[in-house]
Subunit: 271 residues, 4 copies
Amino acid sequence: AGGLYQLSKAGKLCVPAMNVNDSVTKQKFDNLYCCRESILDGLKRTTDVMFGGKQVVVCGYGEVGKGCCAALKAMGSIVYVTEIDPICALQACMDGFRLVKLSEVIRQVDIVITCTGNKNVVVREYLDRMKNGCIVCNMGHSNTEIDVASLRTPELTWERVRSQVDHVIWPDGKRIVLLAEGRLLNLSCSTVPTFVLSITATTQALALIELYNAPEGRYKQDVYLLPKKMDEYVASLHLPTFDAHLTELSDEQAKYLGLNKNGPFKPNYYR
Amino acid sequence: AGGLYQLSKAGKLCVPAMNVNDSVTKQKFDNLYCCRESILDGLKRTTDVMFGGKQVVVCGYGEVGKGCCAALKAMGSIVYVTEIDPICALQACMDGFRLVKLSEVIRQVDIVITCTGNKNVVVREYLDRMKNGCIVCNMGHSNTEIDVASLRTPELTWERVRSQVDHVIWPDGKRIVLLAEGRLLNLSCSTVPTFVLSITATTQALALIELYNAPEGRYKQDVYLLPKKMDEYVASLHLPTFDAHLTELSDEQAKYLGLNKNGPFKPNYYR
Amino acid sequence: AGGLYQLSKAGKLCVPAMNVNDSVTKQKFDNLYCCRESILDGLKRTTDVMFGGKQVVVCGYGEVGKGCCAALKAMGSIVYVTEIDPICALQACMDGFRLVKLSEVIRQVDIVITCTGNKNVVVREYLDRMKNGCIVCNMGHSNTEIDVASLRTPELTWERVRSQVDHVIWPDGKRIVLLAEGRLLNLSCSTVPTFVLSITATTQALALIELYNAPEGRYKQDVYLLPKKMDEYVASLHLPTFDAHLTELSDEQAKYLGLNKNGPFKPNYYR
Amino acid sequence: AGGLYQLSKAGKLCVPAMNVNDSVTKQKFDNLYCCRESILDGLKRTTDVMFGGKQVVVCGYGEVGKGCCAALKAMGSIVYVTEIDPICALQACMDGFRLVKLSEVIRQVDIVITCTGNKNVVVREYLDRMKNGCIVCNMGHSNTEIDVASLRTPELTWERVRSQVDHVIWPDGKRIVLLAEGRLLNLSCSTVPTFVLSITATTQALALIELYNAPEGRYKQDVYLLPKKMDEYVASLHLPTFDAHLTELSDEQAKYLGLNKNGPFKPNYYR
């Protein structure tokens, strides 16, 4: 989605676009709820590591980071968080995670997970200081978060121990366990539940239908958020899976709230 | 904030207004994080109820409802949720709560908590069907969620058992424990931590300063969300309390992300 | 219970005694489940402290410590644990708590909670190093865990700020918030739920009935654990409160397990 | 361990035996902490199921059941528990799980997990009533908990969909997903962390050394629990893995508690 906004700013977007990535259902399911499960799954399938008692640092406390942290905390890991955004940082504090700079904990942690969307978050300097056996992986949106290129130097030996798992070996024998060569762990070493795929695909399909059907002039050459009502529609289509029973507003209540009984129920900016 | 938007729609807003209620820090702290604690505190101080094993229904899964549910689940309660909005409903499912209509569980629950912002959520019909000893309270934003007026009828006896606690007694001897006469439990029977007050007050003060200092024309007679950067500033002022250490973007990273190193770090709609 | 065993060892116990304190129901309810709630309640009623983001050290990871840690972790506190027993220490690790010596964290924590049953766990040396505003309280079984006597010296000023809450003030202005003068927080500043009282009282009554009714010779002048079957009976009496439905063994299953269909279902040492 | 006690009762045990299975470290790690992780791992590797929002029934709330329930609850599943033992049943209630008979929920659950050590817990009658797609697996100690033999009948079709995963297909098309043909999921479809193996192996080795070295007469032809001190020793050997720092008793404290400074720190029955 970031790319679309940059194109738009630069005046280079030649069609209307929907930023489906930032619809609530997409964000919460593809990022928060899916990653809460796939971080555990990806780590287990590749390393068989036990989570209990492990010290973990999670870089980034957006939806993906929140999911990773919640899962690992629940499994008995001791989790530290790094953040650049003070709002997300404060949320990490309130959720019970120590907010640190990477350099403060890099020597002691057993697992390093990147979820920033940024580049060069884990650079060679940090990799040099990790302890023997430290697991390094990326749950963010690109393969740039870990500076893997910096590990392709003559003094370090790479040993492929199994599919998606490399040991990078320092001259003194220290080994770092690098997963998926720094690419996305959740896509490379875990599976995406059909339920999440269904939500994402429904969102994308509805966005396309909306763009196609919209009367001329509704959308210009710009980036739009999915209309709230469609976002709600995606969610409502998936409730029966859980045998979930929605409550309906009475006429009196709808009037009191100033809402249509069929939604949308929240302002567009609500997350 | 709802009222401001209604005034604005009706063209009756005669000054610019900031909707500080929907800034991230306000929302999360005043609603989610504060209520996560005050629901337990309010119930304990008034009723000394043990949470473990209790069946609870929480009406509404916005920030307040999320906080109440998380706290009670953590204390060993079995929590059911009601919702009108399919997005919030789906979140309740993914967080491990059965989504029900109130009528499905009203006979079996030990505690009923309203967090909807709506009116007449718990009406006499439901009160009639609650079991003996059921505790009823309101964590939403008004005193209208529980239809308390419907309980002021001759066949029901009210007994004030202690400050903020009434027993409403049915002819067959059944007692409902009504807290704060249906007004806000968190304000009536719990305390608001100074930390939360500080965040809310800072947000309000910054909003006023911004409105006062803004060059003419920046704000019209409309409702505005607090600029993201100010929201982030409020958060950053409160990080030292937790000895929390923020990470700074390098120049290269800021460029990669297309961000100013000092923020804002997220689009305005980000929550 | 410790006292009984010491009497017995010394040959000074002149009647049979039941160690009801170590029956499973008593241990779990009076200690684990009750303290999980009363630590929050006791702290809120006395200090109105917000738990989210606070750093807390809990001394002792027995049932009481486990309850305190679980509750505070769930409320978003960052919890450290001290222990002398390696088994409990390892459990703390697996439950996600850093196991430290008190001296490692005493300067940084916001709350200190003792749950050891030991004496002089928090001594003057530690009190001197706590930060301004640090809250100190005792959830263990005596008033000896915090060396309160060491604070009754001329250079320190005591200020009673409200019932059960003293500020102890150092010459440099630092204040420590001492709760209940070091006596039990859960008894002094919280309430014991009737459900827990019921379990404890039932256990004690059954133990007395058993000692009274037992045929001569069943019990000598020694300390006995409550027979498993009675422990199970106490539990079964309290299940209807939760509308809990027990499964019955079939004859075939009871035979397979070598159990009587009516219990006891576990060996005596099972906890 | 049950077998040893039966042999002993029958007078057929011809050597001393250690019940290492019931030592605290073995119980907690091999059962509680290991299963807390392997239930998620085993289900993911075989079925890629998403846990969030799923309804699950766990049969048995011993250490294994407690681990399974805690993990699934943390991942957002809605968990029901069945139990025969009122003490464990009451614990399930206090931990926030509805205690039901299997027949009450069998039609609605998405996943059925057995952890009882019993036989014929999930019989054909229940399998007939499960909904389409229901996953059935066994985390208990034998292959007898699910009556798999009852599914080997002509009207049902078996389809092996992948290693360790069978679809059993009813005439109406309903499919049950049976894992590991009813054998142990944690051993068949997950991995046992080296940390857990190390604890178990250390416990077993110490037990053998003790039996071998013990002076004549210390052990008769009976079943013994591992001496507490050895149990503690096993734990202490594994603390450095977590960089965990144990506190030492002072002489004064040891005297106060009536303990040796080097342990054992708890009575033998302590769990």
